[in-house]
């Protein structure tokens, strides 16, 4: 007891100085400008440079790769890659040991350097990420791959840098499958097309002889399920991107549409329309067993699984108008979650599982928005004349969707384009495609 008192007493005596010694200042504000960083061109020796020039027809593959990185980081809206003209240090020296004062001088807070070499007919890239202000290395990695994969190397580096500087996975080493559109609005020709996330390596997967709609990747990004009007019978199809083989999904006596994969990739969930009503079905791709999930005289469509596969969100007009619902994966516990003004469609569960993205039609305007899975916290990200069908980036930060323009009074000037926007509602961007485009679907990260 006495000891205790002494302690307390001494505490009280020491207290004032101790307490007043440490001043606290709360920093609750900062600037929200993209982080300024410098992407130094990857250095390359003359011999490797010549080899790659022969193989890839690119004059300097080192700077080409750094341009990919720079472009990706810029597009993310989170980084501000600085102009290379201002760089003071040569790439080869910077990669060994950056002179941080120089980079500090141009206000770079992070620096990316690297080296490309040609080793055993392969492309070897090493890169380093530096914290300029702390004057230390944050990350160093090396990749070896076939030279033709050079763009992917750029994307993988971007992903690593993004992850190191933001704390979450990137989304650059990904592809987008979409519907390429051409021709007049009344006789649109539509083809399946696939491209890298940054618009490069565009390829058409169908010839455009029949109408195709709503392609979606499986989780492994090797298969695509989509709607095709082959022989004027609208059915859900399955396409293997590598082999090009196609098959009809299930044997339904009518139109199947709105397909998506389950998160484990083993099932396809879709709508089947018959006698004026559309219900949701699943088909197991291994044993071909078909299950009916909803049974209601209304239109139930646009189903999408939660990432754990336990729930399904879909839209239905059972209340009289198109609204969003959530149910268990066996079709039980159907709950309406959208209660705002207007019509709601195309719900898509986010990869993180906490949000559902949707299209909303209200007073003649179309919105892309997100809400929590119980329907609360609705946020509209963008408003336009017509836009729909959001698809999540694999890290759940960005949505890609398509937007159509109003035609003029002659019925001309129609276009359809892909756009992306951050979950924050900022950083809205046109995604360049060689033709008009719609129905985008984002793949998962290809490297992992």
């Amino acid at each position: 007891m006495l000891i205790k008192k002494i302690i307390i007493l001494s505490v009280l005596l020491i207290l004032p100085t101790k307490v007043f010694a440490l001043i606290e200042v709360d920093i609750t504000r900062g600037n929200l400008n993209p982080l300024p960083l410098a992407v130094s061109p990857l250095s390359i020796d003359d011999k490797s440079k010549k080899s790659f020039e022969e193989i890839l027809k690119k004059e300097n593959i080192g700077s080409e790769i750094s341009i990919i990185v720079e472009n990706n980081l810029k597009i993310s809206g989170l980084f501000n890659p600085l102009n290379k003209d201002a760089f003071l240090q040569a790439p080869d020296i910077a990669n060994l040991k950056p002179r941080f004062e120089d980079w500090n001088l141009i206000k770079a807070q992070a620096l990316i350097t690297g080296k490309v070499t040609y080793v055993d007919e392969k492309l070897r890239v090493e890169f380093r990420l530096w914290d300029v202000l702390a004057a230390k290395e944050m990350m160093a990695l090396a990749f070896t791959t076939v030279p033709s994969n050079w763009r992917r190397v750029g994307h993988i580096i971007s992903d690593k840098v993004y992850e190191r500087l933001t704390g979450e996975k990137g989304y650059f080493d990904t592809r987008i499958i979409y519907v390429a559109e051409e021709g007049p609005k009344t006789q649109r020709i539509k083809k399946l097309a696939i491209m890298d996330q940054d618009g490069f390596n565009n390829k058409f997967l169908t010839l455009g002889n029949e109408l195709v709609l709503t392609p979606r990747f499986n989780p492994a990004s090797q298969m695509v399920t989509y709607l095709s009007y082959f022989k004027n019978l609208p059915r859900v199809y399955l396409l293997d991107i590598e082999t090009g083989t196609q098959e009809v999904v299930g044997d339904f006596p009518g139109m199947t549409f709105a397909p998506r994969f389950s998160p484990d990739g083993k099932k396809i969930i879709m709508s089947f329309a018959k006698d004026g009503k559309s219900d949701i079905y699943t088909m197991d791709l291994e044993n071909r067993i078909v299950e009916k999930i909803t049974n209601h005289p209304s239109i139930d469509t646009s189903p999408s699984y939660s990432p754990d596969g336990k729930y399904i969100t879909f839209n239905s007009d059972r209340s009289g108008y198109q609204q969003i619902y959530v149910m268990k994966n066996d079709g039980s516990n159907v709950k309406r979650i959208s209660f705002g003004k207007g019509l709601y469609g195309t719900p898509v569960w986010s990869p993180r599982g906490d949000l559902i993205a949707f299209t909303k039609l209200h007073k003649g305007k179309f919105y892309i928005g997100v809400m929590r899975t119980d329907g609360t916290g609705e946020r509209l990200l963008t408003e336009n004349y017509y836009q729909e069908a959001p698809s999540w980036s694999p890290n759940g930060r960005v949505l890609i969707f398509y937007r159509e323009t109003k035609t003029d009074n002659k019925g001309e000037g129609f276009s359809a384009k892909l756009w992306s926007i951050d979950l924050t509602g900022y950083n809205e961007r046109l995604v360049e495609t060689p033709t008009d485009a719609s129905d985008p679907s984002w793949s998962s990260l290809l490297s992992n």
């Binding site: 109408l211 549409f257 329309a273 018959k274 239109i299 469509t301 839209n315 019925g411």
Partner: protein, 164 residues
């Protein structure tokens, strides 16, 4: 002071009433102006309409988000039923369509529903369901590429097409 306030407020209320009622009359006026071709949101014109036979139009039109047949539609379908009874060797496809103001997937289902409501009506007039198939194009095949209420009304349709 208080009295003048009340007076001011009364004025405000009356002005507001007038403004609102002015809006209402204006709206009626605009509906009247295209009333020649649209009635209650349903297209009643003949642009793009083809004829299966003399006096047998090939299509019926719908209101936004609806699949209910109007009186005019029912008349058209009765004519089609009569024509089908006369030509028992002809089978038809009913192609359902929607306008561009809806999400693609929902519109596919809506087109199917519209074609089916036409099919049901034909069946009640004695046409066997074996002779009728249904196909939905959703919003994929508009006949009018315009972005106006009139263009949309032309596109909300179910078209009867000879299958053989």
């Amino acid at each position: 002071m208080i009295l003048s306030k009340i007076f001011k407020n009364t004025l405000v209320v009356i002005v507001a009433c007038l403004v609102l009622s002015a809006c209402a009359t204006k709206k009626e006026a605009t509906i009247d102006s295209i009333g020649g071709q649209i009635q209650g949101d349903v297209y009643t014109g003949t642009e793009g309409v083809k004829y299966l036979a003399d006096g047998v139009p090939d299509r019926v039109f719908f209101a936004t988000n609806e699949s209910i047949l109007t009186t005019a539609s029912r008349e058209t379908l009765r004519a089609q039923a009569a024509w089908l009874r006369k030509n028992s060797d002809i089978n038809v496809v009913l192609e359902g369509h929607a306008d561009e103001r809806g999400t693609r997937e929902y519109n596919l289902a809506l087109g199917e529903r519209r074609a089916n409501s036409a099919k049901d009506y034909l069946m009640t007039y004695g046409i066997s369901s074996d002779r009728i198939s249904v196909l939905s194009y959703g919003k994929e095949r508009p006949i009018d590429s315009g972005s106006t209420p009139l263009a949309w009304s032309k596109n909300r349709r179910s078209v009867t097409v000879k299958a053989n």
